[in-house]
């Protein structure tokens, strides 16, 4: 019975390999490192910023449209608003990121995946340890509260407790009731990061945004200090820049400059779909 038994040997080898390779709770994909954003045709929207009155392709409802139409870029001169950070569901529209994984040093269980955005150096944590989301009355923040799970090789992230933010940084608000579902998909040195926003207060339908990143070996995330200063003399009290209904002179610029019908520029769920091209034929640019 001491002779070589190929079946038993293979079985033991398989068990050993299983014990060595399949530690429970290990991340199935490693996202650690710096990722550079990939800019293509959306460059003007993502870096210089969207044009005023451009809500095309956003499924915003009539309430959100009215709010966006009263938005005045002068709020960016207010000290309290100068260092306002991009909310986590908008952050992948803007600049590079670094990701890293946090493990329990004893069990090697994955506790969390962290993301640092270049923009304002905001950090967010995606909890991977199964903890529940906080009480609905707990604090809401720009980054929200995120939990993650593996769906095959895809990291699926659910975020709640988001403070009010924006879908596009020209006044299109996203409410604090939104739930955001993200998918992080690594294809070799490329990362696809999709954001799916469900907002029962300001959206007619869920909003989907997809961004691409490229692994940047040896790259780093720079500092991003921001200090508020008083730039203009402001009234002491009760001042907030905005346009009264019907008095925003910039709403027509985008449509006029790009020869897009005003109805299309004002967005809504219908403007997301290919069928809307038939409607465009019926409309005239301003």
């Amino acid at each position: 019975m001491t002779g070589f038994d190929p079946i038993r040997c293979a079985s033991r080898a398989a068990m050993l390999a299983s014990a060595l390779l399949a530690a429970p709770g290990f991340a199935q994909v490693n996202f650690a490192g710096v990722w550079n954003m990939t800019l293509t045709e959306d460059f003007p929207d993502r870096l210089p910023g969207p044009e005023l009155g451009d809500y095309a392709g956003l499924p915003l409802n009539a309430n959100d449209r009215a709010r966006a139409q009263s938005w005045n870029a002068s709020i960016l001169s207010l000290p309290d608003y100068q260092c306002r950070v991009h909310p986590s569901d908008y952050a992948n529209s803007f600049a590079d990121i670094r990701m890293w994984h946090e493990f329990d040093t004893t069990t090697q269980e994955l506790i969390a995946i962290h993301i640092q955005h270049f923009a304002w150096n905001t950090q967010r944590t995606i909890w991977m340890d199964g903890r529940p989301h906080p009480h609905p009355m707990a604090e809401h923040t720009s980054m929200g509260f995120s939990t993650g799970e593996w769906v095959g090789n895809t990291l699926k992230v659910t975020t709640t407790h988001l403070k009010e933010g924006w879908l596009r940084r020209n006044g299109v608000a996203r409410s604090d009731a939104a739930t955001v579902t993200e998918h992080f998909i690594r294809h070799d040195n490329h990362l696809t990061w999709s954001v799916f926003v469900q907002d029962p207060k300001y959206l007619e339908e869920p909003f989907f945004r997809n961004r691409d990143y490229t692994a940047a070996v040896g790259d780093a995330i720079s500092a991003y200090p921001c200090e508020s200063v008083v730039e203009v003399v402001l009234p002491e009290q009760g001042y907030f820049p905005h346009y009264l209904p019907g008095e925003n002179p910039f709403l027509i610029e985008y449509a006029r400059n790009h020869k897009i019908p005003s109805e299309a520029a004002m967005g809504g769920a219908k403007t997301m779909y290919p069928e809307y091209r038939k409607r465009l034929v019926e409309l005239s640019p301003p």
């Binding site: 009215a66 950070v85 707990a138 809401h140 403070k163 009290q237």
Partner: protein, 327 residues
């Protein structure tokens, strides 16, 4: 007639459960109400049940409460407090007089105590009985002048009032500022600033769940409401941008930070500017309501029936009042 309209709108708001100007009990089933405890920071907690949020500050010296919700909930509230601290309740601070914030005053006061001695113990035999209830003097005036069937019993009235800008305490190792914000939600509003914990208990001058309820019949004004929000913004220092740092416990709704208060202030100012513009254009209150100046904020703050109309009406009335008569 004006007073009738005001009374009717207040009654509608009260019926909707936002506040009960008068007073100790609102007609609702309290058996189903659960008191949830949220830790805000260090030794500060927020109790959520029915009515205004309660702030609980605990420490070696004892327990301090800001607001007390409704009387029928007092046993549950006391149990929640006991789960945080076994120490006696020494202080209750009322942010204003509405029943959803003061209804439990008498019960929770009776469960507490006041340190008494010297001349006080000799001259006033019950000086050590029950917790002290601190409020702006207008809270006492409003509560004690209410002769209605649901008036708060005298055992729930403030025992220590102040006038002027503020009252200060040092309790449980930190300075506490009780800051009067005049003519805002009512004429007796206070915000309570815990300086070491860096937490503000705002009462109903800041809520996350609804448009402002400006109780004009109790001396509230639009202008005072804006000033109260500005005061909050002045005190708050965020860690970065609009997040972290000073935390705010609203009268109703979730734990907040600077961004939440700024968003609320934005709504109040934008809607107020629109109404001001319409007043200058000669529009009547009904025309202003029909123009829907709150339409863009309704999904966020307009869920409560009558909230938008009440806010529009109070804003219209106080902005169109002649100088010297802000109501």
């Amino acid at each position: 007639m004006k007073q009738c309209i005001r009374a009717a709108s207040i009654a509608a708001l009260a019926a909707a459960g936002f506040c009960t100007p008068s007073f100790a009990q609102a007609p609702q089933n309290f058996d189903a109400v659960k008191i949830d405890t949220l830790k805000v920071r260090d030794n500060i907690y927020m109790l959520v049940g029915s009515g205004g949020n309660i702030t609980v500050q605990v420490g070696d010296e004892g327990v301090l409460l800001v607001d007390t919700q409704y009387a029928p909930l007092s046993d549950k509230i006391l149990a929640a407090i006991r789960a945080i601290s076994p120490k006696p309740i020494y202080y209750i601070v009322d942010t204003h007089h509405h029943g959803d914030h003061t209804g439990g005053n008498a019960n929770l006061r009776a469960a507490g105590t006041t340190v008494s001695g010297g001349n006080m113990a000799g001259a006033i035999r019950d000086s050590g009985v029950g917790a002290a209830i601190i409020a702006h003097e207008n809270v006492l005036l409003r509560l004690s002048s209410d002769k209605g069937p649901q008036a708060l019993p005298s055992g729930g009235w403030p025992t220590s009032t102040f006038f002027g800008n503020k009252k200060e305490l040092f309790y449980n190792g930190e300075g506490i500022e009780i800051i009067h914000v005049p003519a805002a939600h009512t004429d007796g509003d206070s915000i309570v600033f815990f300086r070491r914990s860096d937490v503000i208990s705002a009462g109903d001058v800041f809520v996350t769940t609804s448009y402002p309820f400006i109780d004009t019949a109790s001396g509230g004004t639009y202008q005072g409401f804006v000033a109260a929000l500005e005061k909050l913004v002045d005190i708050i220092i965020p860690v970065y941008g609009q997040d972290g740092g000073t935390l705010v416990i609203p009268g109703h709704g979730r734990i907040s930070n600077l961004g939440d208060v700024l968003n609320y202030r934005e709504m109040v100012i934008v809607v107020g500017d629109r109404i001001k513009h319409m007043i200058e254009a000669g529009m009547t209150l009904e025309q202003v309501k029909a123009a829907k100046p709150t339409v863009d904020y309704d999904p966020v703050y307009g869920a409560r029936a009558g909230a938008a109309e009440g806010f529009i009406e109070a804003t219209y009335r106080t902005l169109s009042a002649p100088p010297g008569d802000s109501r």
